[in-house]
């Protein structure tokens, strides 16, 4: 399937048959990936499981109004059925692809969800421990929030033409300031308010060096990360450790359950019983999805990132647009840092531990779009949450391999093995005026 490596849009390669109508090539990659996933799930999760095994899911959380009893299912039969669902959705995809029609999004969702459920069934098959299903999804969402905000930051910068490798540093700076401000004021919302400024400051540095001095943006990003790590480590070891009571014991950001919605079983606790950061993330994704692709502001930003000369010709100040996008995006990443410590975590050295790079990966996998970033971040959050659950219960998959998943997925994505991703055309290229 991957014999041709056309770098740009695939063109119909049939110049000798000019008489026949030109047809777009069939896009086999997506459907075949789904078929492969379905077969893998059928064999590995379904047929390989002994028939006598059972899997238990707990759906209720502690605070639920209606306690739902745990569900126990026969492992093999459920995994096989789920795999058949995957194969059915894959069949729809194959049929659509052959007809050269657009493959509907819901089939991808069905494939992903069913494979994931089959994995859960297999992982817990024949074990005493139950899979805390609702808790898993809740944790996944909470873990995804910093990633989503970091990925939004990355895409705001990159859509305008500035590569933001410094997401890690922006998250870290945001988390640091959030902790310090929340601790000194005793108000977690003050920390939430302050964090974007720390991120924006790092973004200002990125913009300054990238735009004014035209330093290579990748290098600035990497070095800014080192700088922020060094600064926060230094301040942590001196100022914060000298006075941990006042400076490094932030209060927890309280949960704000949405009335009525939060009482829905399973969905309620997963989606609507969270601190403010999660709701900000919902709003951020929705607003940016509209603003980036449907507003004049977004068009100008994307023009600066795709074709700065054209943007300049129609009167857009490219460098100012880039600087504003970079600072705004970095402020969003700073908010992500606050989300990272929203559970009332004390600051520690290198608290972010590579989350900025995962956010970068989520942005790439999400193809530089807010909803895509959300989906990719949820995927990574889910992998992380599952890793934590399995750490407690023990599992057939080594947790290190699960932790690798986001990075491997990104490598596959940028290498075009699961569908090519294309960055903004002019990113990383300074625009000397």
């Amino acid at each position: 399937m991957s014999t041709t490596h056309t770098p740009v849009a695939p063109a119909p390669a049939a110049p000798e048959h000019l008489s026949t109508p030109v047809q777009a090539p069939v896009r086999w990659r997506g459907p075949l990936t789904s078929v492969a996933l379905g077969v893998f799930s059928l064999v590995a999760f379904g047929l390989a499981t002994p028939g006598s095994y059972e899997t238990t899911f707990t759906l209720a959380t502690r605070g639920d109004l209606f306690q739902i009893a745990p569900v126990t299912v026969p492992s093999r039969v459920s995994a096989v059925l789920l795999s058949l669902v995957v194969l059915a959705a894959a069949a729809v995809q194959v049929q659509r692809a052959r007809a050269r029609r657009r493959v509907p999004v819901w089939t991808h969702v069905v494939v992903g969800a069913a494979v994931f459920l089959a994995l859960l069934v297999w992982v817990m098959a024949g074990r005493e421990a139950a899979m805390p299903f609702t808790l898993l999804l809740t944790n996944a969402l909470v873990l995804a929030v910093p990633l989503v905000l970091g990925a939004l930051a990355g895409l705001l910068c990159e859509r305008s033409g500035i590569i933001n490798i410094a997401i890690e540093g922006q998250l870290l700076a945001g988390a640091f300031l959030a902790v310090v401000v929340a601790s000194t004021t005793g108000n977690p919302y003050a920390g939430l308010l302050a964090a974007p400024f720390a991120g924006a400051l790092v973004g200002l540095g990125l913009g300054l060096f990238a735009i004014r001095y035209r330093v290579d943006q990748i290098i600035v990003g990497v070095v800014l990360n080192v700088l922020v790590i060094g600064l926060t480590n230094y301040l942590f070891s001196t100022v914060l450790t000298n006075n941990p009571q006042q400076l490094n014991s932030p209060p927890r950001l309280p949960n704000l359950p949405v009335p009525l919605l939060a009482d829905i079983p399973v969905l309620g606790p997963v989606l609507f019983d969270h601190p403010l950061t999660v709701y900000l993330m919902y709003v951020g994704v929705a607003v940016l999805q509209i603003m980036v692709f449907r507003s004049r502001w977004g068009l100008r930003m994307r023009a600066a990132g795709e074709h700065p000369k054209a943007a300049d010709t129609v009167g857009i100040n490219v460098n100012r647009t880039r600087l504003r996008s970079t600072v705004l995006g970095s402020a969003v990443a700073g908010l992500g840092g606050a989300a990272l410590v929203s559970a009332g975590l004390a600051f520690t050295k290198e608290l972010t531990s590579g989350k900025g790079y995962i956010a970068l990966a989520a942005m790439i996998l999400g193809r530089w779009s807010p909803t895509g970033a959300l989906a990719a971040s949820l995927f990574f959050g889910l992998a992380d949450a599952l890793r934590r659950v399995l750490n407690n219960t023990g599992s057939p998959i080594p947790s290190e391999l699960l932790a690798m998943l986001p990075y491997l997925a990104t490598i596959f994505a940028v290498a075009g093995l699961v569908g090519r991703v294309r960055p903004p055309a002019a990113e990383g290229v300074p625009y000397p005026k």
């Binding site: 330093v215 290579d216 060094g230 230094y234 100022v239 290498a415 005026k433």
Partner: protein
Amino acid sequence: MSTTQAPPEPAPAAPAPQPAGPPRRPYLQQVLDSTTATVVTAVFLALLLAAVLVVAADPASQRAAVYLFARPSDFVGAAWNAVFETYSALFRGAVFDYQAVGARRVRPITETMVASVPLMLAGLGLGIGFRSGLFNIGAQGQVLMGAAAGAWVGVALDLPIVLHPVLACVAAVLVGGLWAGIAGFLKARTGASEVIVTIMLNSVALYFVGYLLTTSVLRQPGSTRPISAPVADTAMMPQLLGPQFRLHLGFVVALLAAVAVWWLMERSTLGFRFRAVGANQDAARTAGIKVPTVYVLVMLVAGGLAGLGGAMQILGTDRTFQGSSAGSIGFDAITVALLGRSRPLGTVLAALLFGALRAGSPLMQTSAGTPIDLVLVIQAVIVLLIAAPPLVRELSLVHRLSALLGYDRKEATA
């Protein structure tokens, strides 16, 4: 304007305040063009900024700052004390310990050499990549994989004294090279950005090594901690100055590697191809150079050197391997290569400077109470400043500071 059909080539229309560099890799050009004076000023400014941090975190200075206007001499004295203690401890830890007796007085300088070995090797590899137009951010992963491979050979195999370290180094070079080669191969075959792939490979390497440390492949038998058994005596690098010092043969190997890299890049046909691709890959392709092959080869060489650096850390000093063995060598090596302007001699000197910072920082922490992390700040600021020579000029003249943010406005009116 004029008839420019290719977008990356900027037409020399507007008289820019600073000369508009080449369009694609202005940074590398700037680094290569930067003068020694810029580097020295950058180092000085970084130390100055770090001094401010030291004073800001110093309790005595903080107390004196409260009545700064009443008695400024107190504050100045306290600040001077804090800064002097920090930097003199750094000097004693890294160069010459005038408070020690006997041979221990020169031990610090050998420690600096020891610390610079992995930085030098990894930095040399990165320099080759930078000059060939490849941003290899993945030295960290390559160092880690090389260290793991070296440690495995050192522990698992039973070999005679000379052969053992040689084989361990060869394994490290191969594994590090192949690890980087993944990124080179993917860039050559599919055009995947080497920046993203190497960043991701860093994390993959960390978890992969972490996984190996939970299995019998690397974990010490009978231990539950994720740490390898100590490397066999036969595999250790020979000590150069006896057991009192830790200086090992790896330092000589690193210097030889620098000479080899110089020969490769300046004298060999292969190096010419590397540089041609770095300077202009379209022209290189037109001239018949196989650009994809160069990508793969560059990454193999760079990763091999980084892997060797990782092995030196194990076979020269650490003896045991664990997930944190690579420390921050890979990221420090990026700053080393940049500070050394990607040239072998510059990289050697930069590695010695950053090696000195690494070697001196523990004493700085214990003796002056200044956390090790100050070194990270110094490194980052140095590299940021040499990246932007105009900034160094502006800082040294102080004027135009107010214009920092009015950049676009000023240019628009010009």
